[in-house]
């Protein structure tokens, strides 16, 4: 049903910082006012918690990656639509080895990472690239805020994590980036997703989100004093400074032009990516619980093609709102 009050959750990560900035600087307010709605933006320090909250229905929209969108809300029966493709990781996620720059040396080591996260996925893809599998090493679940500290202990010799931890770790002696998300470009995608039913009933909400994002993204990438100030603010909000934040941005392919984003979601590469992702999730037992194939949850792409069970579509990519932005029709 239609409603006017919406709640959006976001968590601290390079590509999502604009949401917090937009909330703090009146951009959210401005776009909400334009569509006669209210949008409450909540910051989470804990990414997983923000997804869980969205999944149980406490929020209408949330920032997450394509993989987590599939494994948590979609798998949990919450039909979810990716309103905005904000960026993909192009180096923000990395496999780091101590005292070796050869990925193949990872065999036999303990690898510290957040299990079942995009790091795990990155590791799986990295192992594929050198003909290894997860059986050749041992995964140790480690919480993301503690990665930097953990890397400094002698018994940690291999790690998969994301920024800002990656850039911190790479400054440490002996740390080598042996594989990162720029080696699998476009596979780790950062999204703003919303509940499909809410969105269908309230298209204005989607439009407002698109308006907020592209206005803020433009500011973020602007080579002006304002842009610098915005980057400094986002850096501070994520616990670092402008330089640190800009360093993280360089490893991010940010879609500040809606047209680029539209091109990205409509390209067939996305289907290949999602197939990789759902196979990975199925292997780990996170998708299609108890089922025999990853097809249990259907994924819809712009244009209407569905991968998997067409009777149970729960994860959708759409270009509707980004196209409106590209056409200047917001």
């Amino acid at each position: 049903q239609t409603k006017t009050d919406f709640k959006v959750a976001w968590s601290i990560y390079v590509g999502w910082m604009p949401w917090g900035y937009a909330a703090d600087h009146g951009i959210v307010q401005k776009w909400a006012d334009r569509y006669g709605i209210t949008i409450e933006v909540t910051q989470f320090n804990d990414y997983v918690e923000s997804i869980n909250q969205y999944t149980v229905g406490a929020y209408d929209a949330v920032t997450l990656t394509n993989m987590d969108g599939l494994s948590i809300p979609a798998e949990g029966g919450v039909d979810t639509t990716a309103v905005i493709v904000g960026d993909f990781s192009a180096g923000n996620d990395a496999v780091i080895l101590k005292d070796s720059d050869n990925l193949a040396d990872i065999a036999g080591r303990n690898v510290n990472l957040v299990e079942f996260s995009v790091s795990h996925y990155l590791l799986a893809r990295a192992l594929e690239s050198v003909g290894l599998s997860e059986r050749d090493l041992k995964v140790v679940n480690t919480a993301d805020p503690d990665m930097v500290g953990a890397f400094q202990t002698p018994d940690v010799t291999a790690m998969v994590t994301w920024n800002p931890m990656v850039s911190e770790i790479l400054t440490l002696p002996g740390a080598n980036n042996v594989f990162d998300s720029s080696d699998i470009p476009g596979e780790i995608i950062d999204l703003m997703v919303a509940n499909t039913a809410v969105l269908a009933d309230n298209p204005d909400f989607g439009k407002a989100l698109a308006g907020i994002w592209y206005e803020t993204a433009a500011l973020l990438t602007a080579d002006t004093a304002e842009g610098a100030a915005a980057r400094a603010a986002m850096g501070a909000a994520s616990g670092t400074d402008q330089a640190g934040y800009e360093a993280q941005l360089t490893a991010t392919r940010l879609f500040d032009q809606p047209a680029d984003a539209v091109a990205f979601v409509t390209s067939p590469a996305l289907e290949t990516t999602m197939d990789h992702v759902r196979t990975f999730l199925f292997d780990k037992g996170l998708l299609g619980a108890g089922g025999s194939s990853p097809d249990a949850v259907g994924i819809e792409f712009p244009g209407g093609t569905v991968m998997g069970d067409a009777g149970n579509v729960a994860f959708r990519f759409t270009d509707t709102y980004m196209k409106l932005a590209a056409d200047g029709a917001l």
């Binding site: 910051q43 989470f44 869980n52 930097v148 501070a236």
Partner: protein
């Protein structure tokens, strides 16, 4: 003279008490110097000068983004939550403890469930709490309440039940009703224990607060620690930990003074 009878005088006591702190600081300084000599960018044990500079920034330089003084904003946010959480816990623990302590019927109905709930690890309930109560202040306060109340309630029930039965009988011979026994005989006598119990729960309360703030907040001592943990910014974490410790010690001393002031008789009865 036996060692048990050797009583150092005031000055010696003071010096002995300071000694471990001095040793700790020295160990830190040496460790820090050693690590910095090896890697000048080391973040684990920042030099004292770095610490001082960070503290200065946190406490006395307004934040560029919001114009707030970060340390004070965080402190205010956390202490407000703590006060609410402990306030609610104390009040409910008092009621539950009093009732289960003196009414056999209430004890039969509530004691098992309170014991059971006091054993539930509250951190594991955190996700559920957030879902049920939302992410605002309520769920953070609720975590403190859930973590602290059952233990305080059990403690108070024990204190109430430990009052000599003779006192209750005495009150009855003085024509007290059940209500008056609770209100005039038992309640005043467990209030000092309430304060002590509160003091003991200060540590756990801070723990729950930090855990809750780590998940969702935009200000607070725990929020800040977890925010900067990704960068291993020990120059922020150490001062924050020290500050939390200092706050706890101060509140503890304050409560214990309050207790002595309000209930002079409870000191004598020792």
């Amino acid at each position: 003279m036996r060692l048990v009878n050797v009583r150092p005088d005031r000055t010696v006591r003071l010096m002995l008490g300071l000694l471990p702190f001095v040793l700790l600081v020295m160990a830190y300084v040496i460790g820090s110097a050693a690590r910095l000599a090896e890697n000048p960018n080391d973040k684990l044990l920042p030099a004292l000068s770095t610490l001082a500079q960070t503290i200065n920034t946190l406490a006395f330089v307004p934040d560029a983004r919001t114009g707030n003084y970060i340390l004070w904003t965080d402190t205010l946010a956390s202490l407000t939550r703590l006060a609410w959480g402990l306030g609610i816990s104390t009040a409910s623990a008092l009621v539950i403890g009093l009732v289960t302590g003196i009414l056999p019927v209430a004890r039969a109905a509530l004691a098992p469930v309170v014991t059971f709930v006091s054993m539930v690890p509250p951190l594991a309930l955190l996700p559920i709490l957030f879902i049920v109560l939302g992410l605002g202040e309520v769920s953070k306060i609720a975590l403190i309440v859930i973590g602290v109340t059952p233990i305080m309630a059990r403690d108070l029930a024990l204190a109430a039940a430990a009052l000599p039965r003779e006192q209750i009988v005495k009150a009855e011979t003085l024509s007290a009703s059940s209500w008056l026994i609770a209100y005039r005989v038992v309640l005043p006598q467990i209030l000092p224990r309430l304060i002590d119990s509160l003091r003991l729960q200060l540590g756990p309360a801070f723990l729950f607060l930090i855990a809750a703030e780590a998940i969702s907040a935009d200000a607070g001592l725990g929020y800040r620690i977890f925010l900067v943990r990704r960068y291993l910014a020990m120059d922020v974490i150490f001062p924050y930990v020290a500050w939390i410790t200092l706050l706890s010690v101060l509140i503890d001393i304050g409560l214990s003074t309050l207790r002595r002031r309000l209930f002079p008789w409870s000191e004598m009865a020792r």
